[in-house]
């Protein structure tokens, strides 16, 4: 059955929530209760949330209701019902990365992005399902069961941030945080028919983001419209003393720039993204989306980005190498699962063998192999060099254009189980998202029509730290009816 995201009752936005609180049309406590009920109703079939945090949510709601009662100013995101991917640390609230190896783990601190949103008035409803350690593109690699796509219950919601995307699309949250290493925010946004943003590498602090691939990992938002994405970006972006890679580049007024005219902006369309493997119905919608941007006055330029076809191979060597190193910390000593073993080494091996799922083990194996003596130069070093060439493709493109426009995914949302037996086939579907991940640039996926009821996403890449331009284009596209092309 195909459902629309609007079939879940009142469509709250960040501003309408804040205004309703300020005008006393609803209290933060009532709003929180409403969302808890929605979750209770929908989550059993969707499996988008892994854990709920009602105590923390009501504590925040009471704080906000106190501000209203005293007639004080409300913070910018007051009352925003928020879902957070379970790879982001939340103090005292179980954070598992959808893995058995972290079962029951309660972090002693909050991720910076979560802390900043709560300080701005957001209400944390709970933690969302995802592929284990963010490794996957379908959410089927969760140790706690797959998530269903609220728009088509027999389909995957995308991944790895599938729970966050599904929660927003089903009206179980007004916005959500996900993480994007190779497409894990943009692709589920595309599959669930909502806008979703991957910021520039270094734009948002990674403090409290449980590491998968440190040179690629980013925190990014899902929302029901681009304006809400801009509001969240303005709150979470910027330097952080807890993450030296979070660049102290000034954060512009993203919302203020949304309505700037897009007429005359040059949009690059790389022919390399429209080669074999692109589903013809998706291609048709993306072409219609590009035509819409042209009608808005954007100037279309054909581009070549010749290293695109090497991006998947490059990504899966670099990401798995970094993962094999990052995941070495799960050894049964400091947190999570411990299996019993007579010696320390035996305990390590048994804990990791029992705690990790198949996809995580597969990637640890691949990454360990690529970094091992005798293979390092041939695989890891080679991939790092090709990564430099992929980044150069982007830098050269941005010498000619203001933004790059592509499909987010080569295919519409697929059926649960459809690709489960062939990991390589699954990896190849990441072709359009991993390029921007490797280059470090920002990207957004914005709804671009439907094919047989299934949503298609248009991806817009911008220059490093050029989120404002990306949001501006996506906003213009959305306002012009991009979701209905």
């Amino acid at each position: 059955m195909i459902m629309t995201p609007t079939s879940n009752g009142h469509d709250w936005t960040i501003d309408s929530v804040r205004e309703a609180l300020a005008d006393k049309r609803i209290s933060a406590r009532e709003l929180t209760a409403e969302f808890c009920q929605r979750i209770e109703r929908r989550n059993p079939e969707l499996n988008a949330y892994l854990a709920l945090s009602p105590e923390r949510a009501y504590r925040q709601a009471d704080y906000l209701d106190g501000l209203v009662a005293r007639g004080e100013d409300l913070p910018s995101l007051a009352g925003l019902p928020l879902a957070v991917k379970d790879v982001l640390s939340t103090k005292g609230i179980v954070t598992t990365c959808a893995s058995h190896i972290l079962e029951g783990y309660r972090p002693p601190f909050d991720a910076t992005a979560v802390e900043r949103l709560e300080r701005a008035g957001a209400i944390l409803l709970g933690k969302t399902n995802c592929d284990e350690f963010a490794m996957g593109g379908s959410n089927e690699n969760s140790a706690y069961g797959p998530v269903r796509n609220p728009l088509a219950m027999d389909r995957v919601p995308g991944g790895s941030s599938g729970g966050s995307a599904a929660a927003v699309a089903a009206g179980m949250a007004v916005a959500a945080l996900g993480t994007d290493t190779g497409g894990s925010v943009r692709q589920p946004g595309s599959f669930c028919g909502i806008p979703a943003m991957m910021p520039t590498y270094g734009r948002v602090s990674r403090y409290g983001l449980i590491a998968f691939a440190s040179s690629l990992d980013r925190v990014g938002p899902f929302a029901r419209n681009v304006r809400d994405l801009a509001l969240i970006m303005g709150t979470i972006a910027g330097g952080d003393r807890m993450d030296s890679t979070a660049a102290a580049v000034p954060v512009p007024d993203y919302v203020g720039g949304l309505d700037a005219p897009v007429k005359g902006l040059r949009i690059g369309v790389p022919t390399d993204y429209f080669a074999e493997g692109l589903n013809s119905a998706v291609r048709e919608k993306i072409e219609a989306g590009i035509s819409l941007l042209e009608q808005l006055g954007c100037v279309r330029t054909a581009l070549r980005m010749p290293h695109t076809e090497y991006a998947v191979a490059t990504y899966y060597l670099i990401a798995t190498a970094e993962a094999s190193s990052n995941l070495a910390r799960y050894d049964g000593v400091r947190y999570g699962l411990r299996a019993s073993g007579g010696t320390l080494m035996e305990m390590y091996r048994k804990t990791r063998g029992a705690g990790f799922g198949a996809e995580v083990k597969r990637r640890i194996m691949l990454g360990t192999y690529a970094l091992s003596a005798g293979y390092y130069d041939a695989y890891y070093l080679k991939a790092q060099k090709v990564r430099a060439l992929i980044a150069r493709d982007f830098a050269e493109a941005f010498g000619q254009v203001d933004a790059i426009v592509t499909p987010t995914s080569p295919v519409p949302p697929f059926r649960l189980g459809e690709h489960a037996s062939d990991p390589l086939a699954m990896y190849l579907a990441d072709i359009y998202t991993v390029t921007g991940s490797l280059a470090g640039v920002p990207g957004i996926s914005v709804p671009c029509g439907r094919t047989q009821g299934l949503p298609v996403g248009l991806q817009i890449f911008g220059q490093p730290f050029g989120e404002a331009r990306v949001l501006q284009l996506a906003h213009a596209f959305e306002k012009a009816g991009g979701a209905q092309v």
Partner: protein, 104 residues
């Protein structure tokens, strides 16, 4: 075959992973097909290309605050031992307890 059963066992040993017979068989086969695929990188001429280990931070020029600033190396109070040990599967405050490593 690039990946033999022995290769898979060696990699599992390096990665401290206890694998079942079925996993060893499956991962050998899957890693073999993935590594065959990534060979396509050999088509790319990377002569004189510097490897990219991380995304370069924005140049500090122009914007005083840009780049990736380091904070001063000054100790600050860090009283987290009990919080940290609360998550340990086997704690003996102020330590983590593990199977015996050093024989008498």
């Amino acid at each position: 075959m690039k990946i033999t059963r022995e290769d898979a066992l060696r990699v599992a040993e390096l990665a401290h992973l206890d694998l079942t017979e079925a996993e060893i068989e499956m991962f050998s086969r899957q890693l073999d097909s993935i590594l065959t695929y990534v060979e396509k990188l050999n088509e790319v001429d990377t002569t004189n290309v510097e490897p990219m280990a991380q995304v370069a931070p924005p140049a500090a020029s122009g914007q005083a605050a840009a780049g990736t600033p380091l904070r001063q190396d000054k100790p600050t109070p860090c009283d987290v031992v009990s919080d940290v040990l609360a998550g340990a599967p086997d704690a003996s405050p102020p330590y983590f307890r593990v199977p015996r490593v050093i024989e008498r």
